[in-house]
């Protein structure tokens, strides 16, 4: 939330509360008070930030209420003013009294509001922290992300080539600093257990761009990303604590990263997490002259800080022009390329925006249903006091007076509900955070100041909104007196409420149907996704990452020797069925593809020549439980001395070879011919949903494929595999005691993790859907009970005049079901619109799936019918004599 928004909300609230002061006082000094407060808010925000502003606003509002009370009780028109003040206090006392008289109803209202608003506040808090809170850097609105963009193509945010980055940095004038970085991983050895670390390799300007200072030691100096510079490293606060025990003398120590010595020059603040929370160490990105000028490889991320006074749009224009110049100078690599400049904050939260906003929308829907129920409860309670209101109206009480009392009652309930909401929010948020992906960085405790402010504003709105309907409805038209016009249950009056009641039922059913439809679709989507076979058998498979150091295992034969020896040792362990290495396990890596040619075929078009590419050891397919569909998979005979072989999956066969017998076909991969020896089933390599993609497998025992050389190990066990982890690690360390091992997980966990976002969405929306359904049922029941209570004498009269129970039942049922059916109709229409926004979150089910809609429409109609039945049955039990005698 920006400074202006904070100040705006605070001043808006203050001005609203200023209206409590008498008009004369406001005319005289109101504008002085406003100006004074405005200036105070600015200074407070700049000095103490949002927390200080919230505290000031709260104190300011209390001060205004006191001032209003003082002003109203003093001055020339003391007597009249005092009466007004007395009335305010009287209303408040009335509100408190009413709230405690009907304790059951009040408790129900407070709990309903507390839970509804609490959930809303909790999610608002999460949404605020993720989407709206400024990044934790100095002047975060000046930070931007830069990308390469193909003006004609589909690439809208491409990684940057070092040569282009060098040109941008040298020629642009819009930026104070510009920095490139990329993620890599390195083995930390020499101290304690070897470990694989997530390392960010960055320009020396990286920390200056973000305006971040080291908490201990220093960050990179300007020349430290030169190739000849000594090797230095900066630790994150997390790694410093975890690995070095928070040693204050860590600066100056030497560590080995991939067997190369680095000097630790600094430790970052504990709360610094950029570009991701799993970053552990930063080293300068030292480029050779050759690398610095390359424009063919694109792998850098670029951030920059706008110069003071330079706007995003002017920076965009400058970079577009610069992009064109670079493209003219290097047409062979940059033709049709330009530069994209985007606000960093937007970029970091882009993927989370839609689900979170939709979630917020869903909760607002549930809260609205809850509010409708509360309005109905208050109306019902008001009805039971109607006679009292009528008599007081007849004795001269003004409508404003009566409405004021009812409004106060709603206000008291809203305040109590909001207090409960804050408590509920803490609990809901904790639960919600435990379900959210870790990269959302929601591990801070407590509710943000913004959420507290939001609760205050919601409380005021709810109090007014909830009180308004009963206040207007129950004091509408000149109230009849029981003495003169035969009490509260005349047919005419019953009709006077019909509009409001119908509206309540229609809106509840509409909202509930939309929410239940959304949760139904997400439920189906998740079910289909999790039921779909991943193409292998994950049960009883244990996995770990064993990434070899490029320095230590420089030669391919050294790596092959390591794989062979480790696998031999593991396969000799009791309870191990088979084991194999692979580039990266399915569902853990979103990329890694290669181009290839089919010998004897014409060159395929650009878009058709890529397949997911993995390098494996022979037993990998058996370890993972991948079926062999045709031919064979690799064996020990496929070595560096034998002809090169390849295995394809079914999708590859269908897409590229069609009707041709695949086994024996030859593919050219990385310039060498490979013979296809077999077809395996489709493995979901990249993601659970969507169509399987063509994949191509080679064996590392025949040749090295650089980046694609294996780093993940899969071991199939007899029975539970988890007990094997320790023994497997011991076997690996017997081969190389310095070898880091990380990410030890069961394959099932990887599989479950791959649908964790979908699971979260499904669970959350199912809860809201169920809540909406329950609340709607309670609401319809409540509205109808209220209607029946109001029409008791009318029903009694009808029955006294000869109406049968079945007639009464039909009358009341129709009265309840008409608006419910109308709500269902409107809900179906609204669902067709709303579910379109969820299209991106669905798998294997259409947003307007007729079966889902039909099932939910039927369910909701049945629920409405059930909710109508009890009050209808109760109406038939009315004793005409008793009912008529009451009036």
């Amino acid at each position: 939330m920006s400074r202006e928004l904070w100040l705006g909300v605070s001043r808006g609230l203050y001005r609203a509360f200023l209206l409590v002061c008498p008009r004369g006082f406001r005319d005289e000094v109101g504008s002085d008070i406003e100006k004074c407060f405005d200036r105070l808010t600015e200074e407070t925000f700049d000095e103490k930030g949002p927390a200080g502003l919230i505290s000031l606003t709260s104190r300011g509002l209390i001060d205004l209420l006191r001032t209003a009370a003082r002003e109203r009780c003093s001055g020339g028109k003391r007597f009249r003013k005092r009466r007004t003040m007395d009335r305010l206090l009287q209303n408040l006392r009335f509100g408190l009294r009413s709230a405690t008289v009907g304790r059951g109803t009040s408790a129900l209202v407070v709990v309903t509001l507390g839970l509804g608003l609490g959930t809303l506040v909790a999610v608002f808090d999460v949404v605020y922290r993720v989407l709206w809170r400024p990044l934790p850097f100095e002047e975060p609105d000046r930070l931007v992300a830069l990308y390469e963009i193909e003006s004609q193509g589909e690439l809208d945010r491409g990684s940057v080539a070092p040569g282009n980055f060098a040109d941008w940095r040298a020629s642009s004038r819009s930026f104070e600093f510009m920095a490139a970085f990329n993620q890599t991983s390195m083995n930390l050895t020499g101290e304690g257990e070897p470990e694989r670390l997530i390392v960010y390799s960055t320009s020396s300007t990286f920390f200056s761009t973000l305006h971040i200072e080291a908490a201990l030691g220093r960050v990179f100096a300007p020349d430290e990303d030169r190739e000849s510079a000594p090797r230095v490293a900066v630790l994150t606060g997390g790694l410093w604590r975890r690995r070095f025990g928070g040693d204050p003398d860590v600066v100056g120590r030497r560590i080995l990263l991939d067997d190369v010595p680095y000097e630790i020059i600094g430790v970052l603040p504990q709360e610094f997490h950029f570009p991701s929370r799993d970053a552990e160490i930063y080293v300068p990105h030292a480029m050779s002259t050759e690398e610095a000028s390359t424009r063919r490889s694109h792998y850098l991320d670029v951030v920059a800080r706008l110069r003071d006074g330079v706007s995003l749009s002017s920076a965009r224009e400058e970079m577009r022009a610069l992009g064109r110049l670079v493209a003219e100078a290097h047409p062979e690599t940059n033709s049709g390329e330009t530069v994209g400049v985007f606000a960093l904050q937007e970029e970091l939260v882009a993927s989370m925006k839609r689900p979170l906003v939709l979630l917020l929308g869903a909760i607002v829907g549930v809260l609205l249903i809850a509010c409708v129920n509360v309005v109905n409860l208050l109306l019902a309670r008001g009805t039971s006091r109607r006679r009292e209101l009528s008599i007081r109206a007849a004795l001269g009480a003004s409508r404003a007076r009566l409405a004021g009392e009812l409004l106060s009652e709603a206000m008291v309930l809203a305040v109590a509900g909001s207090a409960l909401a804050l408590l509920a929010a803490l609990w809901v948020r904790r639960w919600f955070v435990s379900w959210t992906p870790p990269h959302l960085a929601l591990d801070e405790a407590g509710i943000s100041g913004a959420a507290v402010l939001f609760t205050l504003a919601s409380c005021a709105l709810l109090g007014l909104g909830l009180g308004m309907v009963p206040a207007l409805e129950l004091t509408r038209r000149r109230l009849p007196t029981s003495v003169i016009e035969g009490g509260q249950r005349s047919v005419g009056l019953a009709r006077s409420h019909t509009g409001v009641r119908k509206f309540l039922v229609v809106s509840e059913v509409t909202l509930a149907l939309v929410l239940v439809t959304v949760s139904g679709l997400l439920l189906q989507s998740f079910y289909r996704l999790s039921r779909e076979s991943p193409g292998f058998r994950p049960e009883e498979v244990l996995t770990m990452r064993v990434e070899l150091s490029r320095t230590k295992y420089e030669e391919p034969h050294q790596r092959v020797a390591f794989y062979r020896e480790v696998l031999d040792r593991i396969e000799h362990l009791p309870d191990v069925v088979s084991a194999g290495f692979v580039t990266m396990l399915p569902l853990t890596f979103q990329g890694g593809s290669t181009s290839f040619e089919i010998e004897g075929r014409e060159e395929p078009s650009d878009s058709d020549r890529f397949a997911v590419f993995r390098s494996v050891t022979p037993d990998y397919f058996r370890a993972l439980g991948v079926p062999v569909v045709r031919g064979r998979v690799f064996d020990r005979g496929d070595s560096s001395d034998s002809p090169r072989t390849a295995v394809i999956n079914e999708s590859f066969f269908r897409r590229f070879l069609g009707e041709v017998e695949p086994v024996g076909q030859r593919l050219r991969i990385w310039g060498e011919p490979h013979e296809i020896i077999g077809i395996v089933g489709d493995i979901r390599e990249l993601e659970r949903g969507g169509e399987p993609v063509p994949a191509l497998y080679v064996t590392v025992y025949q040749r090295s494929f650089g980046f694609f050389d294996p780093r993940d190990l899969a071991v199939r066990a007899r029975g539970d595999a988890s007990g094997l982890a320790r023994r497997i690690r011991a076997e690996i360390w017997a081969v190389d005691p310095d070898q880091p091992i990380s990410y030890t997980r069961a394959m099932n966990d990887i599989l479950n993790g791959s649908v964790s976002t979908e699971r979260l969405q499904m669970v959350v929306f199912s809860i809201f859907g169920a809540a909406a359904l329950l609340l709607a049922a309670l609401g319809i029941y409540g509205v109808l009970s209220y209607a029946v209570a109001r029409r008791t004498s009318e029903i009694a009269l009808r029955m006294a005049l000869g109406a049968r129970s079945s007639d009464v039942l039909r009358l009341v049922l129709l009265q309840g079901m008409r608006p419910a059916v109308l709500g269902v109709g409107l809900g179906v229409g609204a669902s067709l619109v709303v579910t379109r926004f969820f299209a991106g979150m669905l798998y294997g089910v259409e947003p307007n799936d007729p079966w889902t809609l039909a099932a939910i429409t039927t369910t909701l109609t049945a629920v409405a019918l059930l909710a109508c039945l009890l009050p209808s049955w109760r109406a038939t039990r009315v004793d005409p004599l008793v009912a008529l005698r009451e009036d």
């Binding site: 002061c21 100006k35 105070l40």
Partner: protein, 107 residues
């Protein structure tokens, strides 16, 4: 807290506008006493009615602040000055008497 007393003391060293009075009180009392806008102007209104202070033209030097809008300045009247002196003496006497009885303040 007696806001009238603090406002009068604040105006002891010359005319001020409302916001300056508020800041002066906060600074002088090291943040112990805070007068917020509602109380400030309601008290100023009363002090004007009791003729303890009065509105006056703005001094020549302009500090930064509310853009170009006119600000109202206030100054102490003779009545106000006398009231401050009297109230200060009264409080000093109260403290003296209390101390005689062995009530030493903790601060």
């Amino acid at each position: 807290m007696n806001p009238s007393y603090h406002i009068l003391v604040s105006l002891g060293d010359g005319p001020k506008h409302g916001y300056a009075i508020m800041r002066d009180v906060a600074t002088r009392t090291e943040g112990e006493i805070e007068i917020l806008p509602g109380t400030l102007y309601s008290t100023i209104k009363r002090l004007i009615a009791e003729r303890a202070i009065e509105e006056c033209p703005a001094p020549d030097e302009q500090e930064g602040g509310f853009s170009d809008e006119r600000r109202r300045y206030y100054r102490l009247t003779a009545i106000g000055r006398a009231a401050v002196l009297e109230e200060t003496d009264r409080m000093a006497m109260l403290i003296r008497l209390a101390r005689k009885k062995g009530f030493a303040t903790s601060r």
